[in-house]
Each structure stands twice: as structure tokens, then as C-alpha cells.
């Protein structure tokens, strides 16, 4: 598969995942409404899920920066970082994002912001020291691709959907425990339905989380392909990923809530890409695909 085909394939698979997600959400919603004969739970859960995540999405630039103790990067101090980003933004037709630096020896970079006009790109001092200019170009192009492909919005939607399911399941289980509000029905057929609904509700948050993580991984592959199409030099990013993969210590400010925004898993390469996680369980529960897979996808078209 060449890079264009990879890009198209990643977009298609994202849509398939999102569709599956929406189906799960609707099934959960339907089951709950039917069980209680009342949509109130759905409405409340949806309102909470949207409200809590909307604020995070809208101020994503400020929130993530303060979480990671980032400081603004000037052109004088970080000439390469600044000019690489400026030039790549021109090539991509994006407005210049605000640049920040995080003081941390672990190499990593992230992009955030609710849209192109409010975009932020940050890199750790470790990354800026470790990468050559063409490797840095690959990394920055990857981050700019996240902005261009609207991944921040997409992941917020995924988190809202997953949060909705988790809330619904939580409320349902609490209400069942305290024995409230169930529609009065009798008959064996209904009992089976009830059991299925309960099992479904317990498993639903897990399924939702897995789908959310699958979407995150798919978008990482897409950002890699978009980066290679932007720089026309996939070897740059591949080389950068190799360096990232060989640095195993976690970041000082590694955080579950923002892990998916980084180019490499901030909990350390062993979390996704090292020997321990090549098993399918490790792969399923990580926000990033394993680095060897990413490098293979980038370099395969040349082979």
C-alpha cells in the first residue's frame, strides 16, 4: 500500500470504528430506555458527558500546556524548531501554530487546540536535542497532521461517547443495586432480556474504551502517513520513531488523560512498542501503535 492508499484506508477504518461506536451507544441507550421505560438516564448521562468534555476540548490548548508545564518557544532560542514548524505549516496551508517547549529529557511532542486557528505544538527539550533537522521535520509534520486531520475534535467525540456509556452503566448499576425505578413486567422471556441487558451494560464501558483506543491508534497511523506525504521524506519520521522507541523511560508529566496526544507513548516505550507489549493484550489497550509497526508502514512502500 502506498502512502495515499494508507491515508485513505486509515480514514475509512476510522469511519468504520466511529460507526460501530455509535451503534454501541445507541444500543446501550435503547436498552436502558426500554428497561426503565424512561429516557431520563440517557439525557442526564449525555448532558454530563458532553459538558465535562466540551470544556476540555474548547480550552484544550491552555489545559494541556499547564498540565505539562510548557513555556513559549521563541525563534531566537529555538531557531530550528521554529523555522521547521513555520515552513511545514506553509507547505500544509495551515496558520502558524503557537510553539511551546517542555523541559523534560524524555523525547516527545504533542499538538492540541480546538481548531487550526487555535493550534498549539509543543516539544520536549529532550526531543529537540536528540533529533536532526530532517527527523524533527518528520515529527512536526506528524503533529501538524493531527491538527489538519481534526484529530483533537475526533478524539473528544470518542471520549464523549465512551464517557456517556460509562456514565449510563454506572447509573444503571447503582440504581439496580439500590432497587429503583424498574418497569414492572412479568414473564420468563423478559428475565432473559433483562440478564442480557445487564451483561451488556457491564461490558459496554469496556467495549467503548477499546473502540476509543482503536480510533486513537488508527489516527496515529494516519498522522504518520500524512506526515510522509507532507515532507515527501518518510525516512525522516521513521528514523525519529526509531530513536523514540529506544528511549524507554517515561515522561515526568505522563498523564492518562493526555497520553493520546503525544507522538510516542509518554509512559515509556515499554508501554507500547517494547518487548512486553507485543502481545495482543498490550496492543489492544494502548493509545499508540507499536513503533516497529509504524516504521514498517512508513518504509514499506519503498521496499
Amino acid at each position: 500500500m502506498d502512502l495515499y492508499q494508507q491515508r485513505a484506508s486509515n480514514i475509512r477504518r476510522t469511519w468504520a470504528l466511529v460507526l460501530g461506536f455509535v451503534v454501541v451507544v445507541m444500543a446501550v441507550g435503547y436498552a436502558i430506555s426500554w428497561y426503565y421505560g424512561d429516557p431520563a438516564i440517557i439525557v442526564i448521562a449525555a448532558a454530563i458527558a458532553i459538558a465535562t468534555n466540551f470544556y476540555a476540548y474548547w480550552s484544550s490548548d491552555r489545559l494541556v500546556l499547564s498540565l505539562n508545564h510548557a513555556r513559549p518557544a521563541s525563534r531566537q532560542e529555538f531557531f530550528d524548531f521554529y523555522t521547521v514548524t513555520e515552513n511545514l505549516a506553509m507547505t500544509a496551508g495551515l496558520p502558524m501554530p503557537k510553539l511551546y517547549v517542555v523541559d523534560d529529557p524524555a523525547p516527545n511532542a504533542f499538538a492540541t487546540g480546538r481548531d487550526e486557528a487555535h493550534a498549539v505544538v509543543a516539544a520536549t527539550t529532550g526531543l529537540l536535542a536528540m533529533m536532526s533537522r530532517s527527523e524533527l521535520e518528520g515529527v512536526i509534520a506528524h503533529e501538524l497532521s493531527h491538527i489538519k486531520n481534526n484529530d483533537i475534535l475526533l478524539m473528544t467525540v470518542a471520549v464523549v461517547l465512551a464517557g456517556f456509556i460509562a456514565l449510563v452503566a454506572d447509573i444503571f448499576l447503582r440504581m439496580s443495586f439500590w432497587g429503583g425505578g424498574r418497569r414492572d413486567d412479568s414473564g420468563k422471556g423478559n428475565a432473559l432480556f433483562v440478564v442480557l441487558a445487564i451483561v451488556g451494560i457491564i461490558l459496554a464501558p469496556l467495549a467503548a474504551k477499546l473502540i476509543q483506543l482503536a480510533i486513537s491508534r488508527r489516527r496515529e497511523f494516519l498522522a504518520d502517513a500524512s506526515s510522509a506525504l507532507l515532507t515527501r521524506y518518510p525516512e525522516g519520521l521513521a528514523s525519529a520513531l526509531e530513536k523514540l522507541g529506544s528511549y524507554t523511560a517515561p515522561m515526568r508529566s505522563a498523564n492518562l488523560a493526555t497520553a493520546h496526544l503525544f507522538i510516542g507513548d509518554p509512559f515509556g516505550a515499554s508501554a507500547s512498542g517494547g518487548k512486553g507489549s507485543s502481545g495482543w493484550m498490550g496492543k489492544l489497550f494502548s493509545t499508540h501503535p507499536p513503533i516497529p509497526d509504524r516504521i514498517k508502514a512508513l518504509l514499506a512502500p519503498q521496499a
Binding site: 531557531f79 523555522t83 513555520e86 515552513n87 511545514l88 506553509m90 507547505t91 500544509a92 496551508g93
Partner: protein, 192 residues
């Protein structure tokens, strides 16, 4: 109104809407490509503005390399004078810019022989800025090519090609190095 009439009217409405959307899309793509072309000129101007400063700095250390200076100054004047109104008539402009790039490369190559010059802060900064300007010119050209590709693909594909030929939208040229453009394709010659 009979069903057939309603269906026919709906069909006509759909076709009219499609024509409007397709036409507007072609207008948007054409204007984007034109803007991208104008943006290249913005980056070229950056280079013109940096060059006099560079020439003065180098003269301070290598005053007798007169041919190198003359070439750069002449090439700069020629490039600034070449018209760049719209692609198609810009082969001259492209060639003039490539000649300027070549003259600059020669000037930097000549500077290699003067260690005092190479240590000069001003010179180093100018070298860095000019290097970045070359990158920016390249970025602007690549973005221009992206917009032209989008426009050309829409004009050539079906059913967009119907609208394009109906209303006279034409293909635009990609920014390419011509086969005959020797100045850019050959390595820089340095003689002492």
C-alpha cells in the same frame, strides 16, 4: 400537478444546484492556486531584501572577489525585474530566480576560503536566514503545486470537466524545473 411534473422539476432543481456548486468550487480552487502563486513572490522578496546586506558583509573580508559580487547583484536585479503576473508567462521569472540561487551558492562557496568571514556573527546569521528563506521558497512552491493539483484534478475529472469546459476554467501549470534550465540542475563550480 402530476407526479411526473414534480419529479421533473425536482431533477431540474438538482441539476441546477449541482452546476452552481461545481462552478463555485472551481472558482475557489482557481483563486487558491492564484494566491499560492502570489505567496511565492512574498518569499522571493525576503531573499531580495537579505542579499544586499550579505554582499556588504562579504565585501568587508573578500573585496577582490568582484566577479562573485557582480554576478549576485546582476542576478538579483534581473530576478526582481522579471515579470511574474501569472503562470504560463513565468518561464523567464523561474529561470531568473534559479540563476540568482546559483550566484548565491557560488558566493557562499567562495566565502569558504575566508576563515575570518566565516567566523563573523553577521555573516553566519545571514547565511542561516538565507538558508531558511530557500526552505520557505520551497515550501511556498510545494503548497502552490498542491493547490494546482487539486484544481487540475477537478477540471479533468468527470463530471467536473463539463462545467470546466462550459465556463472556460483552464488547467494551471505546476512549478517545475524545465529540462533546459541548466543553472539549477548543475552543481556549483568553484575555481580559485
Amino acid at each position: 400537478m402530476s407526479t411526473t411534473t414534480i419529479v421533473l422539476l425536482a431533477l431540474v432543481a438538482i441539476i441546477v444546484l449541482w452546476v452552481v456548486f461545481a462552478f463555485n468550487r472551481l472558482v475557489l480552487l482557481t483563486n487558491r492556486a492564484k494566491e499560492a502563486w502570489a505567496d511565492i513572490a512574498v518569499q522571493l522578496k525576503r531573499r531580495y531584501d537579505l542579499i544586499p546586506n550579505l554582499v556588504e558583509t562579504v565585501k568587508g573580508y573578500a573585496a577582490h572577489e568582484s566577479s562573485a559580487f557582480e554576478n549576485v547583484t546582476k542576478a538579483r536585479a534581473a530576478a526582481m525585474g522579471a515579470s511574474s503576473s501569472m503562470p504560463g508567462s513565468t518561464a523567464d521569472k523561474v529561470q531568473a530566480e534559479n540563476q540568482l540561487s546559483g550566484a548565491l551558492k557560488t558566493l557562499f562557496a567562495v566565502s569558504e576560503a575566508y576563515p575570518d568571514l566565516k567566523a563573523n556573527q553577521n555573516f553566519l546569521q545571514l547565511q542561516q536566514e538565507l538558508g531558511d528563506t530557500e526552505d520557505k521558497i520551497q515550501a511556498a512552491r510545494r503548497f502552490y503545486n498542491t493547490t494546482v493539483m487539486a484544481l487540475n484534478t477537478t477540471i479533468q475529472s468527470f463530471p467536473g470537466n463539463i462545467i470546466a469546459s462550459l465556463f472556460g476554467f483552464s488547467l494551471m501549470d505546476l512549478f517545475e524545473l524545465a529540462e533546459s534550465d541548466k543553472a539549477a540542475n548543475e552543481p556549483v563550480k568553484v575555481q580559485f
